[in-house]
């Protein structure tokens, strides 16, 4: 019974995370989207308030028409009826030249300055834990004027300082560090959205802007799931709750098989 209640709470919080992430998108945005939670948020936005959004997937897909939630970076469903099919190199050239205005990423670990680690926990040569690597995440966060990071929040993934910077956030938090490293000016992580709350960045440091109060989250719970002394905005908000319509669309159209939302990601049964 208690387990069921906890699962229900986790589901509601996950839904809130995806809906809040979708709210970050403005109609007409050109978005470089990673697989998984980011893709759910972008598809939800396309079904609701941002139908004119352009979706860009790193292996060469540019599309504005709706499509089924892809289980992998490349699927026949995300290729077919695309506006353009080109290459990994081409997509990133568009980003590097400043033609993609928003990035949407997941993360292995993140630190207080928005640096993401998708590589190793511990020593690079002899790691305690090995992530699969960054894929194209470094490219997205290097190029896009704004990058939203959608990630489930756990204390051991919200680090004071990550062991490996796969994707640079604001580095050590001092002003101008990205530009000093050579990264394009006015780029970097803009928002972090978790199943507990929403964060922005102030002087390069993550700051809590809003808590998911409607699913029972509190500042104390949020603080308990970060490794550092978290800054909280003076005008802290309660997160805008999902509407019935948004939840319905998420359940029936974006992820009808409950692949991500319901945690039923078991594709091995597809051809059993």
């Amino acid at each position: 019974m208690i387990k069921q209640k906890m699962n229900l709470e986790a589901d509601l919080a996950a839904n809130q995370m995806i809906v809040s992430a979708a709210h970050q998108i403005k109609d007409g945005d050109v978005i470089y989207v990673g697989l998984g939670l980011p893709m759910l948020a972008v598809l939800l936005a396309k079904y609701t308030h941002a139908p004119a959004t352009t979706v860009i997937i790193e292996n060469g897909i540019v599309r504005t028409s709706l499509f089924d939630l892809p289980a992998s970076t490349d699927t026949l469903g995300s290729q077919t009826y695309a506006d353009q099919l080109n290459s990994l190199f081409y997509i990133n050239c568009m980003g590097q030249a400043g033609h993609i205005n928003l990035g949407f990423l997941g993360a292995g670990e993140i630190d207080m300055y928005g640096n993401i680690n998708d590589t190793v926990v511990g020593d690079y040569k002899d790691p305690f834990y090995r992530y699969p690597g960054g894929g194209g995440a470094n490219d997205v966060i290097s190029f896009c004027p704004k990058t939203c990071i959608v990630v489930r929040q756990k204390k051991n993934r919200f680090r004071r300082k990550v062991d490996f910077v796969t994707c640079p956030g604001y580095l050590d938090g001092l002003p101008g560090q990205r530009e000093k490293a050579g990264l394009p000016p006015d780029t970097g992580p803009s928002t972090v959205i978790t199943d507990l709350g929403i964060y922005g960045f102030e002087n390069g440091e993550m700051i809590l802007k809003s808590v998911h109060a409607c699913v029972g989250m509190t500042v104390e719970r949020v603080k308990a799931e970060v490794e550092w002394d978290l800054k909280v905005a003076a005008d802290l908000q309660e997160t805008v709750p999902p509407t019935e319509e948004e939840l319905e669309i998420l359940r029936t159209k974006v992820d009808p098989a409950q692949i991500w939302v319901g945690g039923k990601r078991d594709f091995s049964k597809r051809f059993s």
């Binding site: 292996n59 699927t75 099919l85 290459s87 690079y124 090995r130 194209g136 640079p168 490293a181 594709f267």
Partner: protein, 304 residues
């Protein structure tokens, strides 16, 4: 001159121990039949250049890779039998990590014949600390800091495509990942194609040719050559079915004995798979085709 040959011949003639090998397909149409043939021939000490491919886990598990240049792969040895087996064989590959863009940039530099290209990714990241082929340079014109990505010129590139002609003019469509840079950067090129077509078919739609015949060494006709991955206009994938087949140790070993070492070529592999999975298996992977409108080329009418 026809370059058509069997996969067995193409691999034994052109892939050698110690080669740097580009494998095409970024989750779209990887050269799975060629990869199985390389495993069957036990060609070792390979340096792979690839992104998001699936069946290369067989090359890793059989201890055939020294080095993999990539951006994303399962590296948690606790969760990968292929890595566990490679370690047991003393052949755990070194992973040289790039971001996706920087790896495609390295191949483009190879295609261009220049030693490196600049990029604006990687700066401020720790990739620069662990990969000696990535450095920071100053732009000679603006003074800006840029990442310098060293060129990669693979000894051999293998691409699987929808159609090619006997000379090797190879046409692929759908998403292209880093196929164009990777295959054109490669010194020796093997094309495997779902179908070998008359040169006239190629010449009536030449914009689709990713690599021209004069660059190609061998052409292999291989239906279902990218299975278990999908190929646009041809078939869907069973990627997660493959993961399940080679995940647990006993299943991995069964797969290797039955589907790789136990067959002489890919057509036999397809036959065994049909026997194991039932006749409906391949039917389920067939697709509803979406035709495009024809595109016309032509010549001027002769004026009287």
């Amino acid at each position: 001159m026809s370059k058509v040959m069997s996969m067995q011949e193409a691999v034994s003639r052109h892939v050698r121990s110690g080669d740097t090998l580009f494998l095409s397909g970024m989750q779209h149409g990887e050269p799975a039949a060629a990869i199985h043939e390389i495993v069957r021939q036990k060609i070792d000490h390979l340096n792979l250049v690839c992104v998001l491919i699936t069946t290369y886990s067989l090359l890793i598990g059989e201890g055939l890779c020294d080095r993999i240049m990539t951006a994303w792969m399962m590296q948690d040895i606790k969760r990968s039998y292929a890595l566990q087996k490679a370690k047991k064989l003393g052949r755990l590959p070194v992973i040289e990590e790039y971001s996706h863009f920087s790896l495609s940039t390295a191949l483009l530099a190879g295609q261009m014949g220049v030693p490196y290209l600049p990029a604006r990714c990687l700066l401020g990241s720790d990739y620069l600390k662990v990969n000696p082929n990535l450095k920071v340079v100053d732009c000679p014109f603006t003074g800006e800091k840029l990442a310098a990505v060293r060129a990669i010129v693979p000894d051999v590139g293998i691409i699987h495509v929808q159609r090619a002609d006997p000379q090797g003019n190879a046409q692929k469509w759908g998403s292209l990942g880093m196929d164009v840079e990777g295959i054109n950067a490669s010194r020796t090129i093997i094309v495997s194609a779902e179908k070998i077509v008359d040169p006239d078919v190629i010449r009536r739609d030449p914009n689709r040719t990713l690599v021209p015949g004069y660059r190609v060494a061998a052409v292999v006709e291989q239906p279902w050559g990218a299975h278990p991955m999908h190929l646009a206009g041809c078939y869907g994938d069973d990627q997660f079915g493959f993961y399940a087949e080679v995940g647990p140790p006993e299943k991995y070993e069964f797969y290797l004995q039955k589907m790789v070492y136990g067959v002489k070529d890919w057509n036999e592999y397809l036959k065994v798979r049909r026997e194991l999975k039932g006749a409906a298996y391949f039917q389920k992977l067939e697709m509803d085709p979406v035709p495009s409108d024809p595109v016309f080329t032509g010549v001027e009418k002769v004026q009287g």
